[in-house]
């Protein structure tokens, strides 16, 4: 194994491990902004793995896309979670046990398949140009798929604006709507996890369970 290949391998492990750690921190950190940017870190790590595996264009596009999206996400969290500047601790979870079990089962099942299944060893030819090949694929044989993706995105944009806009199909969104019940003692969902955030106006600041 050459030096360069060894460096690339070590880098792949570091980025791969880093992406998992960052992903875990998304749900462990106590601030929404940090959560959003840990998620971005996870994406950047995966993007770097993609670059190292020769899918350079897609890896970089992933970073480009996610940097914007996670910043929007951070802004959204600060906006909607009634938490000044997103700096207060939070732990707003429900059905915690179920979720843990589901997560572990998903991981175990997928990892089992990954470890057991036999895959042929056919790495990418280092001399090939994956970006050019992707371009020719997108605008050649798979043009229809590419176009479909484009139209889907366009439809999404229009739909998203329609949903988020003030005036929807049924008139002004404010009219005839009701805030959620303000009843701090009401059971909150199937797990009956008491939620002091219940109600439209109570939710400022952080909370500790």
């Amino acid at each position: 194994m050459t030096d360069a290949a060894l460096v690339a391998d070590v880098a792949i492990w570091l980025f791969g491990g880093g992406s998992v750690v960052a992903a875990w921190l998304v749900f462990r950190t106590d601030s929404m902004v940090r959560a959003a940017y840990w998620l971005l870190a996870s994406f950047v790590a995966v993007g770097m793995v993609m670059v190292l595996l020769q899918a350079r264009f897609l890896g970089l596009v992933l970073v480009l896309m996610m940097a914007g999206e996670m910043t929007i996400m951070a802004a959204f969290m600060v906006m909607f979670m009634m938490n000044p500047a997103g700096l207060n601790p939070m732990s707003m979870v429900h059905q915690h046990t179920t979720a843990k079990v589901a997560g572990v089962v998903a991981f175990a099942g997928l990892a089992f398949v990954g470890l057991v299944a036999e895959f042929p060893d056919r790495p990418v030819d280092p001399a090939s140009e994956p970006t050019a090949e992707l371009g020719e694929e997108l605008l050649g044989d798979s043009m229809l798929i590419f176009e479909t993706a484009g139209v889907t995105l366009l439809a999404t944009m229009i739909g998203a604006i329609a949903i988020a806009g003030k005036r929807g199909r049924f008139g002004n969104a404010q009219e005839g709507s009701a805030p959620p019940p303000v009843d701090p003692d009401a059971p909150a969902g199937p797990d009956a996890h008491p939620s002091p955030m219940h109600g439209g106006h109570g939710g400022h600041g952080g909370m500790h369970h």
Binding site: Y37, L40, R56, V63, G68, A74, A75, L87, T131
Partner: protein, 309 residues
């Protein structure tokens, strides 16, 4: 010399950034004196940036109540690193590029998207009101000009039939992109000014916010932030010189010198505009960006595509 090796590469990129940042601040101070109608004292101009850096290094650090200290320190580092990545993709002279990768333009775009993260975090992490507002402003602006930026870079890549910056430079052998795609460079510079929050697009650190994301930074922190911002400006100018002004190509002089001259010209343009044009209104810029700049950038792409055919 193998510039792609780690050590020479870092040294080369670092030299370009530091030299560029120094020249940019001298130009900035010079332009300020010209516009203000004060005498140009060359000695003072040349020594000015060093003196100011020395002063900032001497001033004590201050902190706010309960900041996110790690993130606060990370923000300028992030900007500087991304500026370095951007410069690395550009061939500074024939055959002298640290990482002229075949997706150079995309790498530049990704690095500049991360600049947005850095600027937002700088505002957010100090746990203070005006910096946070500055951070929001940067995001609102950046989301508006990232799209035209990506489009004009794609348009520049079309004649080269490659996303590599080196190939784009070589594709301008007979005709520079600034002539071939007249819309490209102005749109690129608008986005570049936004990325370096310079001049009219310097809203995130504007005087109306008493300094915006940088309000709370003092001493070395302020120096780091100023440097990071200058680095981003240099990266934008270097990339603009390569992609729109033909890079190292030019008659007579050595390639590296041509590259330096062109970078200098772009820096001078940006700095000059910064002293002449008033800070824009956020609301108006967002409208203009989506209703005018993006359509213009699309025209640029379509025209370049038609020409390339």
């Amino acid at each position: 010399m193998n510039w792609s090796a780690p050590l020479p590469g870092v040294v080369l990129v670092g030299t370009v950034l530091v030299a560029g940042a120094y020249v940019a601040s001298v130009l900035d101070a010079g332009a300020a004196r010209l516009v203000a109608g004060r005498p140009l004292r060359v000695g003072e101009l040349v020594a000015g940036p060093w003196r100011e850096a020395a002063l900032l290094a001497r001033i004590r650090r201050s902190t706010t109540e309960r900041p996110d200290a790690q993130t606060w320190a990370l923000a300028p580092a992030l900007l500087a690193a991304m500026a370095g990545v951007a410069v690395a993709t550009v061939p500074l002279a024939p055959g002298v590029a640290v990482a002229d990768v075949d997706d150079g333009i995309v790498l530049f775009g990704a690095a500049m998207a991360v600049v947005m993260v850095g600027a937002f975090l700088h505002g957010w992490s100090s746990n203070s009101v005006f910096p946070l507002v500055g951070g929001y402003r940067f995001v609102a602006l950046a989301l508006s000009y990232e799209m035209p930026l990506a489009l004009v870079l794609i348009a520049a890549a079309l004649p080269a039939q490659s996303l590599s910056v080196g190939a784009i430079v070589e594709s301008q052998q007979g005709l520079w992109n600034v002539v071939r795609q007249p819309l490209g460079l102005p749109l690129f510079l608008v986005a570049g000014m936004g990325l370096a929050f310079w001049g009219p697009l310097g809203m995130s650190d504007g005087a109306d916010l008493a300094g915006g994301t940088g309000v709370e930074a003092s001493g070395p922190d302020r120096l780091a932030w100023a440097l990071a911002r200058h680095f981003v400006l240099v990266a934008v100018a270097v990339m603009g010189a390569a992609v729109f002004l033909g890079g190292w190509q030019g008659p007579g002089l050595p390639g590296a010198l041509w590259m330096a001259i062109k970078t200098l010209v772009l820096l001078a343009v940006v700095v000059g505009v910064g002293h002449r044009v008033a800070r824009i209104r956020l609301e108006r810029f967002v409208v203009v960006a989506w209703a005018v700049l993006i359509p213009l950038a699309l025209v640029d792409v379509f025209a370049s595509g038609a020409l390339a055919l």
